[in-house]
């Protein structure tokens, strides 16, 4: 068996603050196999987003961050790479989709110019005209009806849903093997979010892209993910295939999370008021979902 696209083992993260170190991740382990869509579910502040940023190598640049543990991308330990080599992976082998598409696009350049920059990550000598053609194709893939108009627009001239599609198209333009999606489209309204997510699912299926899908929205996760990790206060508390986990949540925290899913709207942030001792119960792993041992 080939190495999983991503393997994280005993990852710990702390931030140095004036009153000592604040621990954010207490040793989490997870993996994503090729073409697999894996969701990391938890409340805000549980450590979901920082995990994605460590995988990308962005948090490593923050001076107050203390990181330990293993992060392996396609069998390669990211810690052994230089900052330069890590930067080389970003935008080519892995890419990311952010929460608010409109503010994640640069307001002083057109979509076309930004697309050109993204495409040049893989192909540095790419000419604008050629980039435009490829970008137009990529935009057509995310069901944007008139790509040329969009390429000449600025992000503030487009709707949130349109910008989200642009982001998806950009993220997949260089055929990355890993896509990190951090609460994609949470800033959008529910129908638009559902549409763009369906689009994203079809595309990653087609390209066999591995996805780390970060969300607090169980409804969305159920539709999108093959496998789910539930994270609570920097610890993974339950892990299993999406079907089995949703039908048979075993960890007290997961159960609480499920009860809190707003059934009618499907969106919105689950609101778990009480902190229960039981939430700190040990990790529950569903059948056939153990972490791969050692370097593959």
């Amino acid at each position: 068996m080939t190495a999983p696209t991503l393997r994280i083992s005993d990852l710990r993260l702390g931030f140095r603050r004036w009153a000592g170190t604040v621990e954010v991740l207490h040793g989490i382990s997870m993996h994503i196999r090729k073409g697999e869509r894996v969701a990391l579910v938890g409340e805000s502040g549980s450590g979901k987003s920082v995990t994605a940023r460590i995988v990308l190598g962005l948090l490593q640049q923050v001076r107050s961050a203390r990181i330990s543990g293993l992060v392996e991308f396609e069998g390669q330990n990211l810690d052994t790479l230089s900052a330069r080599d890590r930067a080389r992976l970003r935008g080519t082998a892995m890419s990311m989709i952010f929460q608010d598409p409109t503010s994640s696009l640069n307001p002083v350049y057109t979509i076309g110019v930004q697309f050109h920059e993204v495409l040049r990550r893989r192909d540095p000598r790419l000419k604008m005209a050629e980039a435009r053609q490829r970008a137009a194709r990529a935009l057509a893939d995310v069901a944007i009806p008139n790509p040329d108009r969009v390429l000449d627009s600025y992000s503030f001239q487009l709707s949130g849903g349109m910008n989200q599609r642009v982001m998806i198209a950009m993220a997949l333009a260089n055929e990355p093997s890993l896509l990190l999606a951090d609460e994609p489209g949470t800033a959008l309204d529910v129908t638009v979010q559902a549409q763009t997510l369906r689009l994203m699912r079809d595309l990653v299926e087609e390209h066999d892209t591995s996805v780390l899908f970060i969300s607090h929205n169980l409804g969305v996760v159920r539709e999108f993910a093959d496998r789910v990790y539930v994270i609570y206060k920097g610890r993974i508390v339950e892990h299993g295939p999406a079907d089995s986990l949703f039908e048979d949540p075993r960890h007290p925290y997961t159960q609480a999370l499920m009860r809190a899913v707003p059934r009618l709207t499907g969106g919105g942030i689950p609101d778990i008021e009480d902190v229960s001792e039981a939430y700190f119960a040990p990790l529950v792993v569903h059948e056939g979902c153990g972490e791969p041992e050692g370097a593959a």
């Binding site: 962005l58 001076r63 970003r90 952010f98 608010d100 503010s103 640069n106 002083v108 350049y109």
Partner: protein, 340 residues
């Protein structure tokens, strides 16, 4: 009409309105001068009849709005009246002194942009490092003293203590250069007189730098803070997530958007320079408009005060229109706005 042209037209119209406002403001300030300007102009020995004649000629006996009407009518003919002190048309005095001031401000403004913006960008790019701290300290020192203090310090250090630059004036006396534009840096080159050009350059370095210092500090500080703020925007993280080189992120993703809020203030800094030129010209005996203006204010020379302030304000409005156009160029929100 393109949005930028429409913006330009709109700015020209508002500038005219503002200029009319300025003329009203400065006109009313000048007319509430205590004491009789005619008496001041003629001196204590003039007879009551002479004074009355002059009052009549200057329309001083009529109500303020009527006086303003006369003033505007004259202004439309390019006539700002006679200076009560030099006895020459104010427009001619201004035309004589303005180029020296413009030259000084232009060189200082150039220094501000060429030195200040890169310093600020560097500071933001390497924020919270020793380089950043050093630049911040130096730019803070720059803005912490008025131009005349810098002028005195620079003069002591680089004209007296280390006699590298001349002490005062615009050019050494031995050089005679035909006046074409009034800008010595240009005229000497046109005349092909390189030694005169060198002399003009060495004369302008200290005054321009003294004038520019606070602008440099201001521009660096502003650029830094706006750029640091821009660094917190999601699109910077996105750029980092796509692995763009830090230099490229600094230039294209952080610097350029952060220039949009900076440009307005840089325009206002230019205004400050037009005023601060008064201080620097006084120290370096620079024969410019500012000295003429201060003398006019001290002598309560009405027409000269109004003329000088109006001229400086018009200059400032022109600078601001240019700044707005540059802002429009770098800010697509304005360029593509339907309301612009």
């Amino acid at each position: 009409m393109s949005p930028v042209l429409r913006l330009l037209a709109k700015r020209l119209v508002t500038s005219m309105i503002v200029l009319i406002g300025v003329s009203m403001l400065i006109f009313s300030i000048a007319r509430v001068i205590p004491g009789d300007p005619a008496r001041i102009a003629l001196g204590p020995n003039a007879t009551a009849e002479q004074v009355e004649n002059l009052r009549e000629r200057l329309h001083l006996n009529e109500p303020l709005p009527v006086q303003y009407g006369h003033f505007v009518a004259d202004l439309a003919r390019g006539d700002l009246g006679i200076s009560l002190y030099t006895n020459r048309p104010v427009t001619r005095d201004i035309a004589q002194f303005l180029p020296a001031t413009l030259e000084l401000i232009f060189v200082a403004g150039l220094m501000m942009i060429v030195i200040g913006l890169p310093l600020g960008a560097l500071s933001a790019r390497y924020r919270h490092t020793w380089a950043d701290n050093t630049i911040r300290m130096v730019s803070l020192l720059g803005v912490s003293a008025p131009a005349f203090v810098w002028a005195v310090i620079l003069m002591l250090l680089f004209a007296y203590f280390l006699p590298i630059f001349p002490i005062a004036g615009r050019i050494a006396n031995m050089h005679v250069v035909p006046s074409i534009t009034g800008f010595l840096l240009v005229d000497t080159l046109v005349a092909g007189n390189l030694r005169a050009f060198g002399s003009a350059v060495s004369h302008i370095v200290l005054p321009a730098f003294a004038l520019a210092l606070s602008g440099i500090g201001q521009a660096a500080r502003l650029t830094r803070s706006n750029m640091v703020e821009t660094y917190d925007r999601p699109y910077i993280e996105m750029a980092q997530a796509y692995g763009f080189p830090e230099r490229r992120i600094a230039r294209r993703y952080a610097f350029r958007p952060s220039m949009i809020p900076s440009m307005t203030i840089i325009g206002l800094d230019f205004a400050a320079m037009l005023g601060n030129a008064f201080l620097v010209e006084a120290v370096f005996a620079w024969p410019g408009l500012s000295r003429y203006g201060v003398a006019a204010i001290l002598r309560k020379d009405l027409n000269a005060i109004v003329g000088t302030v109006l001229c400086i304000s018009a200059l400032f409005l022109i600078v601001n229109i240019i700044v707005d156009l540059i802002t429009a160029y770098i800010n697509p929100r304005i360029r593509h706005s339907q309301r612009a």
